[in-house]
């Protein structure tokens, strides 16, 4: 497949505006400005683009909701928080192809009649901060940003807002709170950000990868774009593969590529001739799949049918040496640390799960601990304020569904069989 999002990134100067322009960059802005804003949204609608932040929400539908709200100013916010462990797919766009994102944001801002854009960038990406600041300055100098873009009387101001190390700020309403200078605690929905978002104004939050698809959609047309990938889940997708594979990295492939192919064909299979044990297919918040269940299409619609989710497309591959109790324990340490503390089931539940998993891992598990874990996940599921708590519960449920033996074995024997040969 032709590279769209990762086009030219082998070029060491790919982040420079001149290199980007050389290969047709920024032409979609002129094309879009020839269209009515409404028609740009229609084009995105016919492309079938779904948000790449994790939920797969149809982008044009979100845009139409925002468009229908009469309040102005509207804000366009790019979610570059990329906090889901295992995820490093937005980073190559931010560091190597920043102008693609900027172009996507200018076009999206025009379509949405939003004159102000913010890129909410995670604090852990200092290099991306410098590169984006520089790219924004270049784009402003060439009149792709500012008061009167390309002399067409279109205004779009863009700046980077740096997060400060809180996973929950990837959730869009927590992100907005953070952008307003508050603790990143999610808001209740409705009202949705498209109606009441940042500073109480209509706010459209989209992921880096989502917005970076827009210039190409305008370039080739929504219809043609929709032929990439699968019928109900279109376009290119960035899959980031980590763990025990020969060639970890970010792969741009058609949406709906088979998980087995991603691991074996593209990432070169399992390294050191070991056997595959399990995969977290969409980041650590998505339920684990054991080795014999990886024949599934990696898209938003198919993955739930296989008991997991596409999430951020972060494929974490684990070979036979990995202890699932240890992975579950580490994951729950993460969720406990990142729980924002707003709602009880998540704040308390993640802590309890972590504690119980910790004692099982250290060989001090008790009879009944597995049932206790299940009870807690039952209580948490569907009762937390935002999906962070659901994700935490889902991880434990998935582990118990497929690797219950391993947890039982730890409790019975008081140690980990695997730690001996590690």
């Amino acid at each position: 497949m032709e590279k769209i999002l990762l086009k030219n990134i082998e070029n060491p100067n790919s982040a420079d505006i001149r290199e980007y322009q050389k290969t047709g960059g920024y032409q979609s802005i002129s094309n879009a400005f020839e269209m009515q804003p409404r028609d740009v949204i229609e084009e995105v609608k016919s492309s079938g683009l779904r948000g790449r932040g994790g939920a797969g929400f149809p982008t044009a539908m979100k845009w139409n909701f925002a468009n229908a709200d009469p309040k102005f100013p509207k804000y366009l916010v790019c979610n570059a928080d990329e906090g889901e462990p295992g995820t490093f797919k937005d980073r190559p766009i931010l560091e190597k192809n920043p102008h693609l994102l900027i172009e996507g944001m200018v076009i999206s801002g025009y379509a949405l009649r939003a004159e102000y854009g913010y890129i909410y960038l995670r604090g852990e990406y200092p290099l991306a901060k410098d590169i984006l600041d520089n790219a924004i300055a270049q784009a402003r100098e060439k009149n792709y940003l500012g008061e009167n873009i390309l002399g067409k009387n279109v205004k779009f101001e863009l700046s980077v807002y740096q997060g400060a190390g809180a996973y929950i700020c990837g959730e869009e309403t927590a992100l907005i709170e953070s952008l307003e200078g508050k603790k990143g605690q999610p808001r209740s929905k409705p009202p949705f950000p498209v109606n009441v978002g940042a500073w109480e104004m209509p706010t459209i939050v989209n992921n880096v990868e989502t917005l970076s698809n827009v210039p190409y959609i305008i370039a080739i047309g929504g219809e043609a774009y929709s032929k990439i990938g699968r019928e109900d889940c279109t376009g290119p997708k960035l899959y980031c593969v980590s763990g025990h594979v020969v060639k970890p990295g970010v792969y741009e492939l058609p949406m709906g590529t088979n998980l087995r192919d991603i691991i074996y064909k593209h990432a070169g299979g399992i390294k050191n001739n070991k056997k595959l044990k399990a995969v977290l297919p969409g980041g650590i918040s998505t339920p684990v799949l054991p080795a014999d269940r990886i024949d599934c299409l990696m898209d938003f619609i198919s993955m739930p049918k296989h008991g997991s989710m596409l999430g951020s497309g972060a494929v974490i591959v684990m070979d036979e040496s990995v202890c699932m109790v240890k992975v579950a324990h580490r994951a729950l340490k993460f969720f406990e640390h990142e729980s924002c503390g707003k709602c009880v089931p998540c704040r308390e539940g993640t802590g309890w799960l972590r504690q119980i998993l910790g004692r099982i891992e250290s060989g001090k598990g008790k009879q009944g601990d597995i049932e206790l874990l299940s009870d807690i996940t039952d209580i948490m599921s569907g009762r937390t304020f935002c999906p962070l708590g659901d994700g935490a519960a889902g991880v434990v449920t998935g582990m118990l569904r497929h690797f219950r033996d391993e947890f039982e074995e730890h409790i019975k024997s008081g140690h980990c069989k695997l730690s001996i040969d590690n």
């Binding site: 462990p85 807002y161 740096q162 763990g243 580490r330 640390h337």
Partner: protein, 154 residues
């Protein structure tokens, strides 16, 4: 209080947002850079400059992991130990930092050269295990190259 240059910088930040409170996180970063950490004095400066209640400034600052509430060493090692890094050996790196540099998570070496912070994924999973030292990424860490890399930071 902040000097003139810093006050100007914060004015510039304020201009980007519809209200002063939105300048809080960026201003806390500025204060952290100026003071090395968010001392009570640093937070008072931020509160005064943005005309926000001190409790609001402290409450917000304490929510975010990257704001430091204690003095840190000259170089801050931010080591990822999340799943992708863990399964490729970040535990061994932690052990090395303990045995070789007497450095524990959340602490600073006696000579003030290094502080260690455990990170929750720094987006370098394809080149795990990985860390940031100050603002530099270091990937594909091993016990050997970790010592070498640390040698470059004085």
């Amino acid at each position: 209080m902040f000097n003139e240059t810093v006050l100007k910088e914060i004015d510039g930040i304020r201009a980007k947002y519809p209200d002063a409170r939105s300048a809080l996180l960026p201003s806390l970063y500025v204060a952290q850079r100026e003071f090395g950490w968010l001392s009570p004095e640093a937070m008072t400066c931020v509160a005064k400059t943005l005309n926000l209640p001190e409790a609001m400034v402290r409450g917000t600052a304490s929510f975010y992991a990257m704001f430091r509430h204690n003095p840190v060493g000259r170089n801050v090692i931010q080591l990822c130990t999340n799943v992708s890094c863990m399964i490729l050996g970040s535990d061994r790196l932690l052990d090395l930092l303990k045995s070789r540099f007497d450095l524990e998570p959340g602490e600073t070496t006696k000579d003030g050269r290094f502080s260690l912070v455990i990170m929750e994924c720094i987006g370098a999973c394809g080149t795990a295990p990985a860390m940031l030292v100050n603002t530099d990424f270091h990937d594909n860490l091993t016990e050997q190259n970790l010592e070498e890399i640390m040698g470059k930071y004085k």
